[in-house]
């Protein structure tokens, strides 16, 4: 599903080039649950962003579902965001100006799904995550765990093929964290490909492979 070949990512300063990623090769199949680990500054988030079309590699080839990413037009990337990729973050990143219901609904709106269908799909999600009672609340009125639940609901409401999670439990206490990880595991069992960035060994247990990054290199798979 995802193939990275010799990916470099660097920033040029006046007299030196700083590498964030160097010669990264990766192959991730559909249905995998991959954990990317590594110390701070290893390039984990950058790698995730490149995979999620939020950033571009400086060099190398990235194939998404067989298509070379560097040849994708802006429109196609938007299309992938709409239908193929879901994101969750350590900081949840819910839209403050929208309530729970609207947050979950937004990606469906962008996909052009009709109102009636949207309602059904959002209701389904609310039901599934047990947050029906919270649907009119705004993010600031929810606990961290609840916010992350909503964020996940929003990420998967359109049933994307790939879920990218950047330290999904980083801001949560352990109980909530475990609840979220179990949920991810369940989604993976249902067939969703998941790539998570994490610091926690515990969390890697929910996945089926680990990629170790250090100073931009993949040191272990």
């Amino acid at each position: 599903m995802i193939q990275l070949k010799n990916i470099d990512k660097y920033y040029d300063a006046k007299f030196q080039r700083t590498f964030v990623l160097k010669g990264v090769n990766l192959d991730i199949e559909q249905g995998e649950f991959v954990s990317i680990m590594g110390p701070s500054g290893a390039g984990k988030s950058t790698l995730l962003n490149i995979i999620g079309f939020l950033d571009e590699p400086s060099q190398g080839e990235y194939l998404f579902l067989g298509d070379p990413a560097n040849k994708l037009k802006e429109k196609q990337k938007v299309q992938y965001h709409r239908s193929h990729i879901g994101f969750i973050f350590q900081a949840f990143h819910l839209i403050e100006e929208m309530n729970v219901y609207e947050n979950i609904e937004t990606p469906l709106v962008y996909r052009g799904i009709k109102n009636k269908e949207r309602k059904a799909m959002v209701a389904d999600m609310l039901d599934r995550f047990n947050i029906v009672a919270k649907k009119d609340l705004f993010p600031s009125q929810l606990s961290g765990g609840q916010q992350q639940l909503v964020a996940i609901a929003r990420a998967i409401v359109g049933s994307p093929k790939l879920l990218l999670a950047d330290e999904p439990t980083g801001n949560l206490h352990s109980e909530q964290g475990e609840m979220i990880m179990k949920l991810l595991k369940k989604l993976n069992d249902e067939g969703m490909t998941i790539i998570q960035v994490t610091h926690s060994k515990e969390n890697t247990k929910f996945g089926n492979s680990i990629i170790q990054l250090k100073d931009g290199y993949v040191t272990e798979k």
Binding site: V78, H81, R82, F87, H93, M98, T106
Partner: protein, 806 residues
């Protein structure tokens, strides 16, 4: 989709009501200003253009160095010969003379009615000027002598509901030796439009030819392709022939001024109404343009500053699959809300403003201008939408690709343009503040220096009718019996008026031949004996008039001002007092009026009868009984205004029951003299406040951007022990620098402009350094206040918040 967008935009807008209100108020103030300035300019530029022949009509004036010192009057004297010009000069197709109807009062039935403007005209009036006749046949209205056409409003004032046609209006016998005249109303015309350079209450054909003797504003209609320069030459030749002089030696100069240029390009003596001037038009046009530029650029600045607030929303939306188009749509919707609110507020501001303007300047600027206003509003809306949104989109798109910036702000490049803009605006604002102070100071100075304004206890009965002038002595004696009245006098010209009359003179020891001055004259000012004391004129030498208004031949009394003393080649007041002096009235033979020979009995310090714009001219004051005392002045004792006015009213109505009791305080009269300057000062102060507000809007936006940008720096500094005050200094330092640069830029420009402006005045205040200092301090204060609202927040913030996600 749309619903959701609206909802989010609305929630976002209401989340920061203050900032969004600032945007709306800033734009509304600017739009309101632009609309009214444009309407005013449109009105100014359209003066007299509505006449069908406007392009061919010229006002004909003359200057003659031997006649009243070559002063340029807007009318000409004794224009009888104009009737024959058509035969002499083929390019002259038609002519029109307007001779002012004397007196300011007409009589219908037993009542008198005030007339503000009226003319005796040639029967060609309707051929030359476009005036809409409501009742009567244009072609026949003015065929007979003594036919009158009144305007609708005057007809209503005099006749009410009665049909005025065939009614008789009398012009009472009065000043300038006129006899009673009788006119028959033949027709009604519409009131003249605002953009006409004159607004008569009525026009009438004369009973006898009034153009033989006297003044008339004279207009010539030239042939379509006529060259006015050639016509001027022909006119000069013709006049030389009439006066039997050699054309080359003939020094009277002919002037032709296009009708539609009178309002903005004419500043002659005795204009029919106060005119505008082109400089004001330019200044206002520039003002409107600057309003447009600064309002929209500051709006954009604030938008960029605030786009940081939406950065997260936009970023997440991108993740969720929003396209660029929906980002555009988001900002467009946001802009649309702001612009709509702006339009609403503009409407709320404009309606009362228009009625205020209508009340004070009798101008309905909105009339017939709906398409023009709509166009302006639309243009402004589109410009502010587009220009307010584009830079934001540019910044947003440039930054969205860098994912790191999700939680902090949109970056702001080097900000060169925005900072340049802020500097420019502040320079502009500082210059404005300086101008406001200078103009207000000068206007105040001018108002304070008018005569009789010192205690503000003098009222004037302006241009009273000749039959009242005869009873002045009785009026004075009656009034003086009241305890509330301090002093009563009368004079030729009211305060603020023009003393243009000049008589030939003789003086002991003054040799007109030696001064090559044979025909020369000196300014004269007939007055009552109490004039100098009532107006507190300061005697440099000699004494005041004796306490009666009658002079005998040989014992005449003359008081001169300093300027006259110098004009008469003396430099010490004591030397000239006691010299024999005589004024020679030119029309002594026709009228039998003699001014007695006598002595110069006093020299007074120059006083400002006229506007301070003009040098004080040499003036010889002399007493007259029942003659030329057109304006009555009454001074009352301080603190007794109400009693005094009641007493005056009592005396007036007992003496002159049929004449309306109308008087005015001297300071109000001077305010009319400086109407343009007062208006300028008022408009400029409003404009300055608006400009400062808008500038602050931009500065606030910039402060917002910068503090967002430096959040982390501030956090780190605080963690390392910086105090709030130190952070404030850090954040405000740059702004102080910019305002200082603006100040340095503004000072020379303002100094130059204000020097130019002050050149309008012969007597002026100095451009003190403190004016500049105050303006600079004010601008700096406002800037710091604006910026500190933001810096304080940043500086007092808990650094943990700023650094949490870093």
């Amino acid at each position: 989709m749309k619903n959701m967008l609206f909802k989010v935009v609305l929630r976002n807008l209401t989340k920061r009501p203050f900032l969004n209100l600032v945007k709306v108020i800033g734009l509304s103030l600017a739009l309101t200003g632009i609309i009214f300035i444009s309407l005013f300019l449109k009105n100014e530029l359209s003066y007299d253009a509505y006449h069908e022949n406007a392009e061919q009509i010229y006002r004909y004036t003359l200057t003659d160095p031997d006649f009243l010192n070559g002063k340029h009057f807007s009318r000409i004297v004794n224009p009888k010969y104009v009737e024959t010009l058509q035969d002499e000069i083929p390019e002259v197709e038609n002519f029109m003379r307007l001779s002012p109807v004397r007196g300011g009062l007409v009589k219908h039935g037993e009542r008198f009615y005030g007339v503000s403007q009226a003319y005796e005209v040639d029967s060609t009036f309707f051929q030359v000027f476009n005036a809409e006749v409501v009742l009567g046949d244009k072609k026949q209205l003015l065929e007979n002598p003594a036919s009158m056409v009144v305007t609708e409003s005057f007809a209503e004032k005099v006749f009410g509901k009665i049909n005025p046609i065939g009614q008789v209006i009398y012009l009472p016998a009065g000043q300038y030796y006129g006899k009673e005249q009788k006119y028959t109303v033949n027709g009604i015309m519409k009131d003249f439009p605002v953009n006409s350079h004159f607004h008569p209450d009525f026009i009438a054909t004369p009973m006898q030819n009034p153009f033989q003797n006297g003044w008339a504003w004279t207009y010539l209609v030239l042939a379509k392709n006529a060259n006015p320069e050639n016509v001027k030459l022909s006119l000069t030749k013709y006049l030389a022939k009439v006066y039997e002089q050699d054309t080359d030696a003939f020094d009277t100069e002919v002037h032709l001024q296009k009708l539609n240029e009178i309002h903005l390009h004419s500043n002659k003596l005795r204009e029919m109404e106060a005119n505008g001037n082109m400089r004001n038009v330019y200044v206002l046009a520039i003002a409107a343009f600057i309003l447009l530029v600064i309002s929209i650029s500051n709006y954009a600045n604030l938008n960029i500053g605030m786009s940081g607030f939406s950065a997260k929303y936009l970023f997440i939306n991108k993740l969720l699959g929003s396209s660029k188009r929906s980002v555009v749509r988001y900002f467009f919707t946001e802009g649309l809300f702001i612009v709509l609110a702006t339009l609403l507020l503009t409407l709320l501001l404009s309606v009362p403003l228009n009625s205020v303007i209508g009340k004070y300047f009798s101008l309905n600027l909105w009339q017939n201008n709906a398409p023009f206003v709509s166009f302006l509003v639309l243009l402004f809306a589109v410009l502010s939408l587009a220009l307010g949104m584009l830079p934001v989109l540019k910044t947003v798109f440039a930054n969205l690709s860098i994912t790191k910036n999700t939680s902090s702000s949109v970056t702001f490049g080097k900000g060169g343009i925005s900072r340049g803009l802020i500097v420019f605006q502040y320079a502009f604002s500082i210059a404005l503040i300086i101008s406001v102070i200078v103009i207000s100071r000068q206007t105040n100075y001018a108002l304070k220096n008018g005569m009789g304004v010192h205690e503000n206890n003098v009222v004037i009965f302006e241009s009273v009718h000749a039959s009242l002038q005869k009873k002045f002595e009785v009026f004075k004696q009656e009034l003086l019996q009241y305890n509330s009245i301090q002093s009563v006098s009368a004079m030729m010209e009211p305060p603020g008026g023009e003393a243009n009359d000049m008589f030939p003179f003789e003086m002991e020891g003054y040799d007109a031949d030696a001064n090559d001055d044979k025909f020369s004259r000196i300014g004269v000012f007939p007055c009552d004996y109490s004039f100098a004391s009532l107006f507190h004129l300061q005697f440099l030498s000699g004494t005041n008039f004796t306490q009666n208004n009658i002079d005998n031949e040989g014992a005449g009394e003359y008081i001169i001002n300093e300027a006259a003393m110098r004009r008469l080649n003396h430099s010490h007041p004591d030397d000239i007092v006691g010299k024999t002096f005589k004024l020679n009235f030119m029309m002594a033979e026709q009228t039998g009026i003699e001014i007695p020979r006598g002595k110069i009995i006093g020299v007074v310090k120059d006083f400002h009868l006229q506007t301070l714009k003009k040098e004080v001219e040499p003036l010889v004051m002399f007493k007259r009984d029942k003659l030329w005392l057109l304006n009555f002045a009454v001074a009352y004792k301080t603190g007794m205004q109400d009693a005094a006015l009641a007493d005056m009213n009592k005396v007036w109505t007992s003496l002159f029951p049929e004449y309306p009791f109308e008087c005015e305080h001297v300071d109000a009269m001077y305010q009319k003299v400086y109407k343009a300057e007062l208006l300028q000062a008022r408009l400029l102060s409003i404009f300055t406040v608006v400009a400062l507000f808008i500038c602050s809007m931009g500065l606030f936006g910039l402060a917002l951007i910068i503090t967002q940008h430096r959040t982390k720096e501030v956090g780190v500094r605080k963690v390392n022990g910086a105090r709030v005050s130190e952070i404030l200094v850090l954040l405000n330092k740059d702004f102080v620098k910019w305002v200082t640069i603006s100040f340095v830029l503004a000072c020379p420009i303002a100094w130059f402009a204000m020097n130019k402006w002050l050149e309008n005045f012969a007597y002026k205040t100095s451009l003190s350094w403190w004016v500049f200092a105050v303006a600079g301090a004010l601008a700096l204060g406002i800037a710091l206040l604006t910026v500190s609202l933001q810096s304080w927040k940043a500086a007092s913030r808990n650094p943990v918040e700023a650094l949490r996600y870093e």
